[in-house]
Symmetry: C2
Subunit: 114 residues, 2 copies
């Protein structure tokens, strides 16, 4: 039996909902995660520069997975996370791209205002 639970958490395309996705993206920590994934493609959970306990990060990844935004797969002893970009683009064209673009702009502006 291979990593049973996590795969079940990730819904098929037909079960992804618009409010669910928007809710997942509406948390600053999760938005940050999505922005990094958008740039890096695939990252393990621990490789974010976020100052949080592992359990908090794990919670946010669970929300991202169960809403259908992020896919996670085992690779050795890490988990490799990636955006479900094709699924989301097929369901809600343009949303992911515009949120990512706005999120990056937001971060750039925050950095400039420091």
């Amino acid at each position: 039996m291979v990593s049973k639970n996590i795969e079940q958490e990730q819904p098929p395309v037909g079960q992804i909902t618009l409010p669910g996705v928007l809710h997942a993206l509406s948390d600053p920590v999760r938005l940050e995660i999505v922005l990094k994934l958008a740039v890096a493609g695939e990252i393990a959970c621990g490789c974010f520069g976020l100052a949080m306990p592992k359990s908090s990060l794990s919670h946010h990844f669970k929300v991202l997975r169960s809403s259908g935004v992020v896919a996670s797969k085992r690779d050795g002893r890490k988990w490799v996370n990636s955006l479900r970009k094709e699924d989301l683009d097929g369901l809600f064209p343009g949303i992911l791209d515009s949120v990512i673009a706005a999120g990056h702009a937001m971060r750039a502006e925050e950095a400039g205002r420091k």
Copy 2:
């Protein structure tokens, strides 16, 4: 003094945040309100076919206003609500349009599945 409180609730463009907007849109009731506003342009609070008490509706409008998604103005004894489309498009290009399009597609699919 003219309708003092409500205007203060509506933030200037500089105070609208991406997580705030996404959170406002992530509730099914509020998403429904936004979709109707997108079609109708301007609607009074009571003119939604939503089966809810006035106080619940009022709460959702408050969230929509304080996140910067909706503007409300007095007109006689009604309130006229409208989307802050230009402000949102300026801040987060494409997000509102893609959410509205996805929301309408979602509703159409729900109707077809009845």
